[in-house]
């Protein structure tokens, strides 16, 4: 299963703090040996200020109870430092004094930014988020503002404050034109945790610039995009674009999820799709971002299969279809009945022969002609009225010029 794990590929594009939940997830899933993971975590956090955590990890890795003095020392110095800054910032007199002086104000802002960063490094994400928010409101420095925005996004993500993050993501999207790869990776956190995220992920990732970025630098994001499209019933029209991209990139990246789409819509190999669906289940349950969507994905994938199946077939054997959908005989029947009811597929079940018969609504030529000529008269009318309007307009213009 490790070969479908995307976390190693994604880590280069993420912040240390953002990686931590991923590693935690991995250790709960037991794909990799524990010891390696602990080591990775330790290395990850060694450069942050989360001292408690580091010492805990140290103990776990080395097994002995003694925490190296430098770690503890670090903790102390950090605490004193923090205290100092805290004193300055929280002292209302200082603030009042500083407000008077613009230059000092600037200095104060810098302090605020620095403190936000510090809090973030210590793992106090809520505080950091607040700090950076205030900083952004007050500051005018563009570069610092941008990095504050990134910082706030990260803190909100880690604080699980999804509403705020969605906002941040939108803001960030408007401001950046580079570092799209980073942006894509960070935004996945949001998109799969916020209820509305899956709409935005489709909008954002399928916009031309992001498609380019995905294709050139991080094709593995296709998995998330595919999942989002499949699980989003209202966005079926994006499926075509997605299929095209998957097909184009298939030589560079494939996993069971993209392969499922490929075998269903490119090869029309229903058996293959069924196999892939089984694999998908496993991959999804091992993916940090997609675990929650697993059931939804499978449900929707079944819909896709049966929809395609029905469109192509005239007579379907229920047991065969149930097999294709990884369902038992009875379950399958229920499923099909539901399907017929929900999607209003024009079909009937022949109980005696245990088949579904699709009603072909074949458009006759008569209908085709009507279809083609339907809008014509309306369009002509619009034409005529615009011409009329134009003439009237010209007339008034002429009169105006005469009266002038």
């Amino acid at each position: 299963m490790a070969n479908y794990d995307l976390i190693p590929r994604m880590i280069p594009y993420l912040d240390r703090h953002l990686v931590l939940p991923l590693l935690n997830f991995l250790s709960s899933n037991k794909i990799y040996p524990d010891h390696d993971l602990f080591k990775a975590k330790y290395e990850l956090l060694a450069k942050t200020n989360m001292v408690d955590f580091i010492s805990e990890l140290y103990i776990e890795i080395h097994g002995d109870k003694e925490v190296p003095s430098e770690v503890l020392q670090g903790l102390e110095t950090l605490q004193t430092e923090a205290q100092k800054v805290m004193d300055i910032i929280t002292n209302p007199e200082v603030i009042a004094a500083l407000r008077q002086d613009k230059l000092q104000n600037l200095h104060f802002l810098k302090e605020k930014y620095g403190f936000g960063q510090f809090q973030y490094n210590c793992g106090i994400y809520g505080g950091a988020s607040d700090m950076l928010y205030h900083f952004r409101v007050l500051s005018t420095d563009h570069d610092l503002n941008l990095s504050a925005l990134w910082g706030k996004l990260a803190s909100d993500i880690l604080d699980c404050n999804w509403d705020a993050t969605l906002e941040e993501v939108q803001k960030l999207k408007e401001t950046i034109d580079q570092k799209r790869t980073w942006f894509i990776h960070w935004s996945i956190f949001v998109f799969f945790n916020h209820p509305k995220g899956r709409d935005s992920i489709i909008d954002v990732f399928l916009s031309p610039f992001y498609v380019n970025t995905i294709q050139t630098s991080c094709p593995w994001i296709l998995r998330y995009l595919t999942t989002a499209v499949v699980t989003n019933k209202r966005r079926k029209n994006n499926l075509k674009d997605l299929i095209k991209i998957i097909q184009q990139e298939s030589y560079e990246y494939k996993d069971p999820i993209t392969e499922f789409i490929e075998s269903l819509y490119v090869k029309f190999d229903f058996e293959g799709a069924q196999h892939k669906l089984k694999e998908c289940e496993e991959v999804l349950s091992n993916d940090f971002f997609l675990v929650a969507t697993k059931m939804e994905f499978i449900e929707n994938a079944r819909y896709l299969i049966s929809e395609t199946y029905c469109r192509i077939h005239l007579k379907i054997d229920i047991s065969g279809l149930s097999q294709t959908l990884n369902l038992g005989q009875e379950e399958g029947e229920k499923w099909i009945v539901n399907l017929i009811r929900d999607t209003r597929v024009d079909a009937k079940i022949d109980f005696k022969e245990n088949t579904v018969i699709m009603n072909q609504n074949h458009t006759s030529i008569y209908q085709q002609v009507i279809e083609r000529t339907k809008g014509l008269s309306f369009r002509s009318q619009v034409l005529a009225s615009t011409i009329e309007k134009r003439e009237a307009h010209q007339l008034t213009n002429a009169i105006e010029s005469v009266t002038e």
């Binding site: 498609v211 560079e252 029309f268 190999d269 192509i312 005239l314 007579k315 030529i365 083609r372 002509s380």
Partner: protein, 841 residues
């Protein structure tokens, strides 16, 4: 007017007449014999030179025209000398003009320039320089007239003396010689013929030199030439000055230089001689169309290598294009910790030229002879020199030269298969073991061609100028395509956006681009990506001007539209035979692709006239039509016949016969893994056969058994199902599958004539309305613009900006589409090229 009674007042015009007759004509004339003192007096007194005509004491003498001229020259020379003494530049200028006038008139024949002339001129030059310096130093100005004359003289002398540089140099060496030949003496002597004069002069010289015992060679003109390392620079200068002149014997020059090279001792001397010798050899052949003599090419190659070796062993010297042109003809003093001594010259241009000459010779040698093969063998050595040059430039951080030379290297490699590259690289290692020291191409024991090309290209992407980057990119893509890495090649092609502006680049690059496109197409074909292959090849093979577009031979034009210069240029651009892409194979691949796409599409169109107009490959259609119109068609003979036969068989559903015919084509053997390609094609034929069958006969059936179809086309059942599913899904086929009975139920009904007409009528009405809408829209926007202009300029500008914005947005969209839709982009440039050609024509 009789010559006998010519007035003494116009001796000059007389001179003209006589000399212009240009024969040894005896003439009786009144002429004064100059008495030096008197003239000097006159000069000194008058300042402005007066004609000698007012002399009274004239004496009748009979002289030859030449004698007379020499006399006149002498007089002028004397006058100049006198004028020098009093610094009278106006006089000098006048006299100098006269002097030259006489001389040019006289020297139409092959007589040498009199020695005293040279003396005068040389002295004048010295004097000029002297007085120029003086003028500069002294704050006091000359009078205006004089100063102007001085400046004019400065230019004149500079120009004039360049012509006689050799002679002046000679005179400077020993000014004493011949000085005893006082003017009067000459006059006396000149009783004899002038030819004798030359001879005597030469003889005297000869004797003198002989007496000294340093005699080495005798030139054509009986002049002894001696080459030692001491006078090397002087000789070198002589040769350099003669270079490019009309009457210079180039072969002679080369010989002189080669001799100089033999006597050159110090590295500096050697470098200088080589820097003169190599271009001299390149210059030997003046015409653009001929190629350099092979032997001479080889010797040049050797000399370039020698030069390289000298430069490598003497890091003190460096050849630089922007170095000061050194005037000193002596050994430069080089200190130990000094920066390298720069010598003016362009070494990279030698390599460029050598390579160009090599290509030129290959263009001109008949490729089917052993000569060609022999010539081709020289490429290894040439390549070694290029590599060596690259390392030298790299070491000396000459970035521009390095990228040029790397480009050359790349162009020698990119089209070659791995094995050839390996052999070449290995032999380079043998010839020149240092080759592994390059930083651009780090050495490894195994030569990996892909890695080598990659590192060369990467260097050019980083350091090269834009043309080099483009060409490197194209070479890189070509190489990938050659190695069946279609996706890599395609991605590079699309990401580089080369095709957006390739039609603006030079023709050579466009040719390279066309070659690359063709190679990408063939690569797709080998991989079984028929559609991609077809769209890559379409624009080049579809034009019927394949040869021209790939520069692989001149297209025979029925109506010769090209002017001869155009043809000449085209001829120069031709690629040598060993670089050619096999055109027959290309055509074969293209037609096969077209067949696999066109036949099903024709079948799908059926009797629908609208759909029938959709043509994928025009040349293929044309050939097929032609083939069908023939009353008798015999058994297929050439590749085309085979494919046409196969196409007809495929259309009729006889896929087996189609397979046979396609497999019988011999040219497939030129592709690597022939069997794989044939298998791929067979499989494709089966699939397309199935599709064609379904399109053609679906209206005649109600149901078709899947098993039976699988049987008919010997395909596995599930792939038949998959093909049919795809057709149903894409709405190509009105049918559905019956899972229970395992068959296809067809719904298709052929529309009756009336129905068909009704459909097309509806279509036409729709397009009519659309056209109307478009017209109105156009009118509206233009009308709006007009109105706006009438009203306010500011507003109209805004409007304009808006439309502009819209258009740029539109362009952006276009680009985006381009990135995603591979097939649309391909071959853009090719059209561009053809257009360009048309303009030129």
């Amino acid at each position: 007017m009789s010559r006998f009674f010519k007035g003494s007042s116009d001796s000059e015009s007389e001179d003209d007449e006589i000399t212009s007759s240009d024969e040894e004509e005896l003439d009786v004339e009144t002429h004064e014999v100059p008495s030096g003192a008197r003239r000097r007096f006159l000069k000194g007194a008058g300042g402005i030179e007066s004609d000698e005509s007012d002399e009274d004491d004239t004496k009748r003498e009979v002289r030859s025209a030449k004698d007379k001229r020499i006399l006149a020259l002498e007089i002028s020379a004397k006058t100049i000398e006198n004028a020098q003494k009093i610094n009278d530049w106006v006089a000098i200028q006048n006299e100098f003009d006269k002097l030259n006038k006489i001389l040019t008139k006289g020297s139409i024949g092959s007589i040498a320039v009199p020695r005293f002339y040279i003396k005068t001129v040389a002295m004048l030059e010295d004097f000029l320089n002297e007085s120029l310096i003086k003028e500069k130093e002294s704050k006091k100005k000359m009078n205006a007239m004089n100063a102007r004359a001085l400046n004019t003289m400065k230019q004149k002398i500079k120009k004039n003396n360049r012509l006689y540089e050799v002679e002046i140099e000679k005179w400077r060496l020993n000014p004493e010689e011949n000085d005893e030949e006082t003017p009067t003496e000459v006059v006396k002597k000149k009783k004899v013929d002038l030819d004798d004069f030359d001879e005597t002069l030469a003889d005297e010289e000869f004797e003198k030199e002989d007496a000294e015992g340093d005699f080495i060679t005798v030139s054509k003109y009986n002049k002894p030439i001696e080459y030692t390392s001491e006078n090397l620079f002087k000789k070198l200068r002589e040769v350099m000055e003669a270079r490019g002149k009309k009457n210079t014997d180039r072969l002679e020059q080369i010989k002189i230089l080669q001799k100089l090279l033999e006597v050159a001792i110090t590295p500096y001397q050697q470098i200088r001689v080589l820097l003169a010798l190599i271009p001299a050899q390149f210059d030997y052949n003046p015409s653009m169309s001929n190629y350099m003599n092979v032997d001479m090419w080889k010797s040049t190659l050797k000399e370039i290598n020698q030069l390289l070796m000298i430069l490598e062993t003497n890091p003190k010297y460096i050849i630089h294009e922007s170095a000061e042109e050194e005037l000193l003809d002596k050994e430069p003093i080089i200190e130990v910790d000094q920066t390298p001594f720069a010598i003016r010259g362009s070494f990279v241009s030698f390599i460029d030229r050598l390579d160009d000459e090599f290509t030129k010779s290959l263009q001109n040698i008949d490729p089917h002879t052993t000569d060609y093969v022999d010539r081709l063998k020289d490429e290894t050595e040439l390549y070694a020199t290029i590599v060596r040059g690259q390392i030298y430039f790299e070491k000396n951080l000459l970035n521009e030269s390095t990228s040029r030379v790397v480009m050359r290297r790349l162009e020698h490699l990119y089209y070659k298969p791995d094995q050839v590259i390996q052999t070449v690289e290995n032999s380079v290692k043998q010839i020149f073991p240092e080759s592994s020291k390059s930083t651009i191409t780090p050495a490894s024991s195994e030569v990996d061609s892909t890695e080598l090309i990659h590192s060369l290209c990467v260097y050019l992407y980083k350091k090269g100028e834009s043309l080099h980057r483009t060409r490197a990119m194209l070479c890189h893509i070509y190489h990938h395509a050659l190695h069946n890495r279609f996706y890599v090649a395609r991605d590079m092609l699309l990401m580089s956006h080369l095709q957006d502006n390739i039609h603006q680049s030079d023709v050579g690059t466009q040719i390279l681009h066309n070659r690359t496109m063709v190679q990408v197409g063939l690569c797709a074909f080998r991989d079984g990506m028929i559609k991609e292959a077809q769209s890559c090849l379409q624009d080049i093979c579809g034009t019927g001007r394949v040869k021209e577009l790939l520069a692989q031979g001149l297209q025979l034009q029925k109506y010769a539209q090209h002017p001869p210069e155009q043809e000449k240029l085209d001829r120069q651009r031709q690629l040598p035979f060993h670089m050619h892409i096999n055109l027959e194979l290309l055509e074969c691949a293209y037609l096969t692709c077209s067949m696999l796409l066109e036949i099903p599409s024709m079948a799908a169109a059926g009797s629908n006239p609208e759909a029938r107009k959709k043509i994928i490959s025009k040349p293929f259609r044309r050939m097929l039509d032609f083939n069908e119109r023939q009353v008798f068609s015999g058994p297929p003979e050439n590749t085309r016949d085979h494919i046409m036969g196969a196409a007809k068989a495929l259309a009729a559903g006889e896929w087996q016969r189609c397979q046979e015919l396609i497999s019988a084509i011999k040219i497939w053997d030129l592709m690597p893994n022939t069997q794989n390609i044939k298998d791929m094609l067979n499989r494709k034929i089966q699939e397309e056969g199935l599709r064609t069958y379904l399109f053609t006969y679906s209206s005649h059936y109600v149901t078709l058994g899947l098993d039976q179809l699988a049987n008919m086309f010997s395909l596995p059942v599930n792939s038949v199902t998959s093909i049919i599913s795809k057709m149903i899904w894409n709405e190509e086929l009105a049918a559905s599958l019956d899972q229970v009975d395992n068959n296809v139920v067809l719904h298709r009904v052929e529309p009756t004539k009336v129905q068909q007409l009704a459909l097309s009528f509806a279509e036409k009405a729709a397009s009519f309305v659309e056209a109307n809408e478009r017209t109105l829209e156009q009118k509206q926007t233009s009308g709006q613009n007009q109105r706006d202009q009438q009203r306010q300029k500011g507003q109209s500008n805004q409007q304009h900006q808006n439309t502009e914005k819209r258009t740029t947005h539109h362009q952006k969209n276009n680009q985006q589409r381009v990135r995603n839709n591979f097939n649309n982009v391909l071959g853009n440039s090719v059209k561009g090229r053809t257009q360009q050609n048309r303009y030129r024509a």
